[in-house]
Amino acid sequence: MQAALDLIRSFLDYGPNVALPVIMFLLCLILGMRVGKAAGAGLMLGVAFTGIFVLFDFAFPVLGKAGQAMVQRIPGLRFQAYDLGWTVASVISWAWPYAFLMFPLQIAINIAMLALGWTKCLNVDMWNVWHKATLGAFVSALVGQSSPALALPLGFLVAAVWVVAELISADHTREQVYNLTRIPGIAVSHNMLLDIMWMAPVLDLIEKIPGLGKIKTSPADLRRRIGIFGENYVIGAILGLIFGLLAGYDLKGVATLIIQCAAVVTLFPLLAGLFARALAPVAEGAQEFMQKRFPGRSFYIGLDWPVLAGIDSLWVTGILIAPLILLFAIILPFNNTLPFGSIIAVSLVATVTVITQGDLVKSLLLSIIGIPVYLGAATYFAPYLTNLAVATGAIQVPEGYGMVTWLETNAAGMRLLVFTILDALNGNILPGLIALVVLVFCVWYYFPAMKRRENAAAQESGGISGNPLPYPEVASKAAKPAPTD
């Protein structure tokens, strides 16, 4: 037994780019795949991992050098962490030794909740299992500081709570998603939408501003005008130019940085796409497993956020707030993250798009309020992500440049609250209590607010199943009566 454990341990020491493909291969065999196909999926995972390593080795010093030059040149700048985008964060999270256990955790909880009638959402989005891995790993790291015995159990507990919350969130946003997309039978079960819990009261305040509803905008027109400026390589080039100027580089330096940044921003998604391809068989196997368990039952399918990606106001908001993210990063005293890879903060603007129902003016206002929260989360989680990368050997973070992080920490506000609460275990009692009060208020506010917004969305669309009033119990508060025809 000991010999077997030693063998496994020494094998894991080879590093994730060797160990993970083998785990993947075995997982595919368990899922009933042919040997050849399983080996292909495993190899592809190794290829994707290696590709991300190579690009990271190139990208991190480029960004780190520019960031340090900026900090030395401009007093008041504090950049210590570099946003390399969610693709890098997801790759690092898979290197956490328990990451793959998040698949069965998510599936088991979902099946139990469906069977008990606690949700109507069958979440088939197996890609975003990685978010639960980051939570598990980070909570373990946080709690492990003072209570090592609690570290792993609490890590899994928070991940489990997240799975439950995602399903409840999908249940309470599906009319709003339907009104935007008019795709029946689906919901968005992505954890980014959990931030609606703090956004709901804020948006209610914003909507009290007189005259707000009268401003007419045409997001589709704006989107067309933005055109090529919305593409990754152009955004990367613009950032390269700004960083080069702030860093005081000479002409050659600036020109080089423009090309390097454009290349990095373009290449990370391409390489991460290989990752998605390698994980696709696992995702598909899990999906089939779940759908077989509930034949003919009335549920809807929980999907990843890109079903929203055709909404013009989402991209217009994302591009319009990008300069503000950079500006806030420079002036906010608590921020030390240099925004780069997720300067188009999809997880922020897609969430805002759902709750504002694609209203550009409201989306902009709510997103601007969200920027400090997202920068705060990126700064807060930078040591966690960097330590995980170093501990697992996922990525060699070169010394002396700082930390790696990602700005698109999904549900940034909710994560910060949960971590502040758990930090009470390490003796930080007062902030923990304040965070707990805020969290309780957000949850208490969430349900009636969502029912009201779901009713409003259903009234506009006619309702997913032809019922324009899914929550009649809150209808008395609505100003407009339901149409009778």
Partner: protein, 98 residues
């Protein structure tokens, strides 16, 4: 027969589009259609990508942009939900004359 090129777009060209593309590849291969190239792309680059493709399998079938492209588009949501995939394949075969 010339190679037919299908693109599947999502918000980043990373996750959802690749999951749908991989499923589509497998379904087409199972039916013996080896002459089709399926690629996942970033929706932000859709205009450029559409110039070198024959069909868009869209996971944002409500978007007006889909209809402004020079190529036909069909609803690819069934590839994600697993409900109605046979119909997607039939539509693809009809449009690409496979």
């Amino acid at each position: 027969m010339p190679l037919k090129r299908i693109i599947v777009a999502c918000g980043s060209g990373v996750a959802t589009s690749n999951v749908a593309a991989e499923k589509l590849r497998n379904l087409l291969r199972e039916q013996g259609h080896h002459n089709v190239d399926v690629r996942a792309v970033d929706i932000k680059s859709l205009e450029a990508e559409a110039k070198v493709a024959d069909l868009l399998v869209s996971i944002t079938p409500y978007a007006i942009r889909d209809k402004e492209l020079p190529i036909p588009s069909i609803n690819g949501i069934p590839l994600l939900t697993g409900v109605g995939t046979a119909d997607v394949i039939k539509q693809i075969k009809d449009i690409l004359k496979l």
